[in-house]
Each structure stands twice: as structure tokens, then as C-alpha cells.
């Protein structure tokens, strides 16, 4: 083997190449248009919420509240107003922002923590591996809402930051488990062995050689978990231990609507429907990503 060839084998697959390959695979597959459209719409609403929303989501208008404007009854407030006269459509759009923000940030942090631990666990092995896997098994089996409530209780109550930490605490284990399994396989591959022989230090192998090869899996796990994360955030907010009351989060809107269920039932119906539709879309989208990118993961 010439020196050049050895260098080529030693060269880790670049991150950019990996992401490009990812895009190519996606293009070739049959895209589920409706879930993709809903996902794009959610992100669009999240990013441009202040521009899209016709009113300030927290601005009360008692006069309108008394009129009890329902959905499609007024051209000024398309989806009607709540009991305080706040525009439902505007609250819905800002709610998309809260949902998207919390789930992306908590999943992002969860992915970083979980992937790092997964790579360390798989690559180093031994007692470190046993310990990390024991903990992640415990976390994965535990009821998620209960776990999140424990974290919230420890932190002393509601707050966006606390929700993010609580969700992170429940999701990192999925990453750690899956990634560790993959690293166990990668560890035996030639480019890692050669890197070891060449004297590359372990931390560098993990970052430069192993990590780029698990990015695909990380993205798949994220897409599979977005729906569950949105659901968890909504549940915590509904229970009053998530996003602080008064914020236009979907879970809180359902909870507020509950107080006037008999005559203003749509105040609960509409935000709940929004959660359901978004979560269905995310679940379908995640399933599709997994099936097209990595059918091996199907059963896990």
C-alpha cells in the first residue's frame, strides 16, 4: 500500500460530504408532501410570528372578549377571540414559535449530550460504558412526564428554561443508546484502526473520525423525537409546570379554554387540534426519514 492510499483511508469522511449525501438520498425518495408542508408551515410561523400575527398575542381587548367572537365570525379576528379578547390566530402563531423553539433547543442540547455520551460509551467501553448504559436504560424506561415533573420539582416550578432542561433529561438517553450501538460497529472499521495505529489520540478519533459517521443517525433520531417533544412540552404547559401561564403556548391555551368549555368550546378545540396535526405530521415525517435513510433502524 502506498503512502497516498494509506492517507486516503485515514482521511475521515468529511462532514460536508456526509450532509450532501444525506440530501441526495432524501431527494431520491418519495417525499410525504402533507407532513413536509405542515413542518415548513410550523417553522415559517415560528420564525416570522411577530410579522404574521395580526395582533399582539398577549394584548387583551375586553370589549371584544365580551362579544364572544367565534371562529370565522369576524374578518378582523379570523379564528375569534378568547375570553379576554386576545386574538386566537395570533396566539396560535406565537404558540407555534414556543413549541418549535422549546422542542428544537431541548432536542439540540439532548442530541449533543446524548451523542457525546454515546460515542464515549461505545468507544471507550468498559466500566464507563456500563455506567452510562445503566443510567440511560433507567431514564428510557421511566415514564417521561413523571421524569420531567421530577426535574421541574427539583428546579422549583414553571419556566421555559426548566422545561427545556426537563425535556433534555428525558431525550438524551435515546441518542446515547442508539449512537453507542453504532460506534461499536464503527470502532472495528479500518479507518479507525489505522488512525489508532497512526497514533491519533482517542478524543481526536472520536471527534474527527467517529462523529461524522453518526450524524445521519442523530438527524433521524431528532426527527423521530420532535413529535414526542412537542407533546411533552404541551402536557407540561397544560399542567401548569411548563411555560409560564399567560404565554401563548398551545398547552396553556387548551387549559385556559377549559374554563369556558360549555359555551366557548373552540378555545380548547383549536389549539389542541393544532398540537395533534403538528405531532401527526412530525411522526409521519420522522417515520419517512428513518425508512428512507436507514431502514436498519426500523425496529428500534
Amino acid at each position: 500500500m502506498s503512502v497516498n492510499e494509506a492517507e486516503n483511508i485515514l482521511k475521515p469522511p468529511s462532514t460536508i460530504q456526509n450532509v450532501l449525501g444525506f440530501g441526495k438520498k432524501l431527494k431520491a425518495a418519495h417525499i410525504p408532501w402533507i407532513p413536509t408542508f405542515i413542518l415548513v408551515l410550523l417553522l415559517f410561523c415560528a420564525v416570522f410570528a411577530p410579522m404574521l400575527a395580526p395582533y399582539d398575542p398577549k394584548e387583551a381587548d375586553v370589549l371584544k372578549g365580551v362579544q364572544r367572537i367565534g371562529p370565522f365570525e369576524s374578518s378582523e379576528n379570523l379564528l375569534g377571540v378568547d375570553i379576554l379578547g386576545r386574538d386566537l390566530l395570533s396566539r396560535l402563531i406565537h404558540g407555534a414559535r414556543i413549541s418549535a423553539f422549546i422542542s428544537l433547543v431541548s432536542l439540540g442540547f439532548g442530541a449533543v449530550v446524548g451523542t457525546s455520551l454515546g460515542i464515549i460509551s461505545g468507544y471507550i467501553g468498559g466500566k464507563t460504558d456500563a455506567f452510562i448504559m445503566r443510567v440511560s436504560d433507567g431514564v428510557m424506561g421511566f415514564p417521561t412526564i413523571l421524569l420531567a415533573l421530577i426535574i421541574v420539582a427539583i428546579q422549583g416550578g414553571a419556566g421555559i428554561q426548566n422545561v427545556i432542561i426537563a425535556i433534555m433529561a428525558t431525550v438524551w438517553a435515546r441518542f446515547a443508546r442508539q449512537i453507542r450501538g453504532e460506534v461499536l460497529g464503527l470502532k472495528e472499521r479500518d479507518f479507525v484502526t489505522l488512525a489508532v495505529v497512526a497514533g491519533v489520540p482517542a478524543h481526536r478519533i472520536m471527534i474527527r473520525h467517529v462523529f461524522p459517521n453518526v450524524i445521519n443517525t442523530v438527524l433521524i433520531i431528532i426527527s423521530l423525537l420532535v413529535g414526542q417533544t412537542i407533546l411533552l412540552e404541551a402536557s407540561l404547559s397544560f399542567l401548569g409546570v411548563g411555560v409560564p401561564p399567560g404565554e401563548p403556548a398551545w398547552g396553556i391555551m387548551v387549559a385556559e379554554g377549559r374554563n369556558n368549555l360549555i359555551d366557548l368550546w373552540w378555545l380548547s378545540l383549536i389549539p389542541g387540534l393544532a398540537i395533534t396535526i403538528v405531532v401527526i405530521a412530525m411522526n409521519l415525517f420522522g417515520d419517512w426519514m428513518r425508512d428512507t435513510l436507514d431502514p436498519k433502524l426500523r425496529r428500534s
Partner: protein, 305 residues
């Protein structure tokens, strides 16, 4: 087998201890308990007296030891807001949650499994697609919202079922359905895929060739084999039921453990927070240990794996 059970029990006790340490010292860091009881005109001396009274002057690890020792003897402290012993409250609340969970499991199995069988038998028909859509919705719709919509339709609009608190059998219908929806979808999906697999196997084909009636083939030969993985899901689904219980109890004002926990978190009632979390953890750990042992009994590979 005995060794396996022993190891599993020791493991679960250890898990519970870890949970108690995390929760106890976590709650410790959130703030001074004495300040919660203090009012605006409490003097510093009085505050100190409260601390001594509650034992807060001792270091945290000593108090943890005391707590554990008391807990083992059944004393879990006092509820600050209710002025009652926590153990007494738990004795009322835990059975209510277990009853709700059992009712939910029953509903989930009795709707989910038949639906799954039908979907597999009528594979790729409109019925199958309908069942699949139902499973997707069941997995995605937030339980608190489903619960509220059930209250609106069956309670407020049609007035056919009670929507509040615990009582006769009719009080169970709506909460049990709401709590079951998520795992019902799971049962359905699993039964469907398990049934499809079995229906495609050699012995089913043979039974058909023998000229047995379709009913006999499906319910006697295929179902018996397909149901095993479905039943194991019953054990796993306990986590889902506990999750649902917290939310559904709040919506239906069900006097269970979940609502007690949530109230205590809102009122910063430390003893109750600790006790409810530990008891929920205990319930979950005991349940999964029993399920594990049962699996090992059925499947020797787990025992020696």
C-alpha cells in the same frame, strides 16, 4: 431462576435509592424550607426556631438518613398545606390511581387487540387503513386535550356520563378511555403486525389447506401464536399508563397519586413532592421488576443472557 430474581430485586432497590438521593438533594437545593413557612413578620429567632423544629439545622446527609429510616417505618412526613400525614394521604390516593390504570389497560386491550386482528385479517382494505389512521391519531393526540373534548361531548353537551371525581362504574368510562388511547394505539399496531407475520407462516397455510374454516384458522391457530408479543407489551405499557394518569387525573379531578404530586409541586409542599415521586417510582420499578421476572420465566434466554 432464584438468582435472577434476587439480582433483579437488588437492582430495583438500588434504583429506588438513587432516585431518592436525586430527589432529596435536588429538593434541598431549591431553597430554604423554613422560609416557606415564614410570614412577613417572622423574626430571625422564630425562623431559627422553625428550622430547629423541622430539623433543618442538621446537615443534609443526616436528614436524608433520618428521612430514609422514617420512610422505611411508614412515616413520610407531614403535608404542609393539608396538615395531614403523608402516608395517610397516600393510602387514599394510590388505590385510586391503580384502579384507573387497570381500567385503562382493560379498555386498551379490549379495543386495541380486536381492532388489530381485524386490521390484519382485512389487510390493505379500507378498514385496515382506517385502523392505521386511528393508531396514528391515538399516538399523536395529546391526552389532556382528548380528555377535555370527551368531557365537552359526553358531559357538557349530551350529559350522558359523569366527568368529575370518582364514584360508580360510570365515573370510570371517560377517564379510562382517555388514559387508554395512547397504549390502545400501541396494542393495535402490535397485534396487527404480529398477526400479519403469523398469518403468513407455514402452519397457517397448512391449516388452510387442511380445509379448516377461516374462523378456526384465525382465532385458534393464528391468534394463539400472535398474541404472545402483544401480551408482553402489556407490561411495557405500564409506563405509558403512569404518564397518562398524571394528566388524566388532573383533567377529571380524579383523587389519585398524579394529582397529589402536581398539587404538591404547585404548593411547594416538599414532603408530599418527595413521597409522591418516590411512590410513583416504586410503583413503576416494582411493576417492571415483576414483568422482567415473568419474561424470564417464559423465556429462558433472558435469564441466562
Amino acid at each position: 431462576m432464584f438468582r435472577f430474581i434476587l439480582i433483579r430485586i437488588v437492582q430495583s432497590i438500588f434504583t429506588l435509592l438513587v432516585l431518592s438521593v436525586v430527589v432529596f438533594f435536588g429538593a434541598e437545593m431549591t431553597g430554604d424550607q423554613a422560609l416557606v413557612l415564614a410570614t412577613a413578620d417572622t423574626t430571625l429567632e422564630e425562623l431559627e426556631a422553625i428550622r430547629v423544629n423541622l430539623g433543618l439545622d442538621k446537615p443534609a446527609y443526616v436528614r436524608y438518613g433520618d428521612y430514609l429510616w422514617d420512610a422505611v417505618r411508614g412515616d413520610l412526613g407531614m403535608s404542609g398545606s393539608q396538615r395531614r400525614s403523608v402516608s395517610e394521604m397516600l393510602i387514599e390516593r394510590v388505590p385510586a390511581t391503580l384502579q384507573l390504570a387497570a381500567a385503562g389497560l382493560l379498555v386498551a386491550m379490549s379495543i386495541g387487540i380486536p381492532l388489530g386482528i381485524l386490521a390484519a385479517v382485512k389487510y390493505n382494505t379500507i378498514f385496515d387503513k382506517f385502523a392505521k389512521a386511528f393508531a396514528v391519531i391515538g399516538m399523536s393526540a395529546p391526552q389532556f386535550w382528548v380528555a377535555i373534548m370527551l368531557i365537552f361531548l359526553f358531559g357538557a353537551k349530551w350529559g350522558v356520563l359523569p366527568t368529575f371525581g370518582k364514584g360508580g362504574i360510570d365515573h370510570y368510562v371517560l377517564p379510562a378511555f382517555a388514559i387508554s388511547l395512547f397504549i390502545m394505539a400501541g396494542f393495535m399496531r402490535l397485534t396487527r403486525s404480529s398477526m400479519l407475520e403469523v398469518l403468513d407462516s407455514e402452519f397457517v397455510k397448512f391449516a388452510r389447506i387442511k380445509g379448516l374454516s377461516e374462523r378456526l384458522v384465525i382465532y385458534k391457530h393464528a391468534l394463539k401464536n400472535a398474541i404472545i408479543p402483544v401480551l408482553t407489551f402489556g407490561g411495557v405499557s405500564f409506563a405509558g399508563l403512569l404518564n397518562g394518569a398524571i394528566v388524566v387525573e388532573v383533567v377529571f379531578a380524579w383523587p389519585g397519586l398524579g394529582r397529589m404530586m402536581l398539587d404538591s409541586i404547585r404548593q411547594r409542599d416538599t414532603d408530599v413532592i418527595l413521597a409522591t415521586i418516590l411512590v410513583s417510582g416504586l410503583l413503576y420499578i416494582v411493576m417492571s421488576t415483576i414483568v422482567d421476572i415473568l419474561y424470564a420465566y417464559v423465556d429462558p434466554r433472558i435469564r441466562f443472557g
